[in-house]
């Protein structure tokens, strides 16, 4: 207010007015408040211009920050307005149904015999595969470091089997929270940019032969051996994913022939 030229920004009464005009632009006024204000704007051109400016700011900001589209095929927009999703999430029902309709479970429903880690592996695949953060191949030295780090965090030795025979190179690994302790996720990529992930987490409950989880276009083959659960996730091609999983399972000390198909 020491600055006579810039009177609009800071004077309290202008601040109040700006709040009112903002509330109009943001749809936060009741029907009555809105009607009164619109009446006023009909002859208060200065205020009308401000409202118009706020609207233009909004349009420009939305244009500046479009919704990122990568991985868009995986992301399903719920049909319910998002303000109602709080309730939906609380009931655990409505959003689940909306998603269920869009991403039908083709395998057994969740909780019907699959270990949680297979689900988590599938979701972790969906979450991280679109990221383009680590596009370079992990060097041998980095790989050793990565394996040591992940083994320490999982408190068991973990290994990333080579999948070069199938054209996939290891491009990175990350630590994720799992339901029975931390989980490691290795990411592989082929020349075409297709990605596979191998998810590894403690699973002391029992030994599991190779099994398949289908979720939308994603496939996960999972098994458990020597206290660790493994899940190999990738896009559609089931036969190929199974073949890779068999090799990975054998390379990791399991016995894939126990799998009957």
């Amino acid at each position: 207010m020491n600055e006579p030229r810039d009177t609009s920004a800071n004077a309290p009464e202008n601040d109040d007015d700006a709040r009112l005009l903002c509330a109009l632009v943001d749809g936060e006024l009741s029907g009555d408040e809105r009607a009164v204000l619109l009446d006023r704007l009909a002859h208060d051109t200065a205020a009308a211009e401000r409202v118009e400016h706020y609207r233009r700011q909004n349009a420009a900001l939305r244009q500046l920050f479009p919704l990122p589209s990568e991985g868009a095929s995986l992301f399903v927009q719920p049909r319910t307005p998002w303000r109602r999703l709080g309730l939906a999430a609380a009931s655990g029902l409505v959003l689940g149904l909306a998603l269920g309709a869009a991403l039908p479970w083709q395998a057994l429903p969740w909780g019907m015999g699959q270990p949680d880690f297979a689900q988590r592996a599938d979701v972790a695949y969906a979450v991280y595969v679109p990221e383009r953060r680590h596009p370079v191949e992990v060097t041998v030295a980095e790989q050793a470091h990565l394996l040591t780090w992940l083994s320490n965090r999982l408190k068991q030795p973990v290994a990333a089997p080579p999948l070069g025979e199938y054209g996939y190179a290891l491009v990175g690994g990350r630590l994720l929270p799992g339901d029975s302790g931390p989980a490691a996720q290795f990411m592989y990529q082929n020349a075409a940019g297709t990605r596979l992930t191998l998810y590894i987490t403690p699973f002391p409950q029992r030994k599991l032969a190779l099994q398949l989880l289908r979720e939308g276009e994603r496939r996960t083959v999972y098994w458990a051996n020597q206290g660790l659960g493994y899940a190999l996730s990738g896009p559609g091609d089931e036969a190929r994913l199974r073949a890779i999983a068999v090799d990975a399972c054998n390379a990791l000390g399991g016995d894939a022939s126990a799998w009957s198909g």
């Binding site: 601040d15 700011q57 349009a59 990122p68 991985g71 399903v76 999430a89 655990g92 269920g100």
Partner: protein
């Protein structure tokens, strides 16, 4: 029904908000990744409330923490990530996007973040208040001041005039 699949729905929104906050793709990716890891580890069934607001809150907390770690980044600091952007050259409704972007990153952080939540993420005032952990009245004042400031900046003769807004990013303590 899995919480994780609900999470996927909001992933693009988290990415967008992180990019707008940081204006730095790598930083934004890190923020989103941290947020997801935190969300996956903190979630427990029976938790009620608005998932999106909760995720945005987590993301914002990570951002504030990381800002603290980077300490003293001023809005017009030469090294701030948003100083080195390829400027968009198109125009929307008579406003040059380049100018709008520049004005946005000249706002104090607390005005910028509320503007992003309301104008871009289209949150209600109440949900924005939840994310920012301030009263609704504070959301309204910051928003009003932010928009007025944007208007003044966009009307100004030289948007690049450095003397006008050398305000450091203020990291505000969250008070309930």
């Amino acid at each position: 029904m899995s919480f994780e699949s609900d999470l996927l729905v909001w992933l693009p929104h988290l990415r967008r908000y992180a990019r707008a906050l940081t204006r730095d793709q790598a930083w934004a990716d890190d923020l989103v990744q941290d947020t997801l890891e935190r969300a996956l580890s903190k979630w427990h069934w029976g938790r009620s409330g608005n998932l999106r607001a909760w995720l945005l809150t987590l993301l914002r907390h990570r951002f504030i923490d990381q800002l603290r770690a980077r300490r003293e980044i001023a809005v017009d600091d030469e090294t701030a990530p948003w100083q080195h952007l390829p400027a968009p050259s198109n125009e929307v409704d008579g406003l040059l996007l380049r100018d709008v972007e520049r004005a946005l990153y000249r706002l104090p952080l607390e005005q910028r973040e509320v503007l992003l939540l309301v104008a871009v993420e289209e949150l209600s005032y109440q949900d924005a208040a939840k994310v920012l952990q301030v009263p609704v009245g504070t959301v309204m004042s910051r928003l009003a001041r932010g928009r007025e400031r944007m208007r003044a900046l966009l009307a100004g003769p030289v948007a690049g005039d450095a003397t006008s807004t050398r305000a450091p990013l203020k990291v505000v303590k969250h008070t309930p």
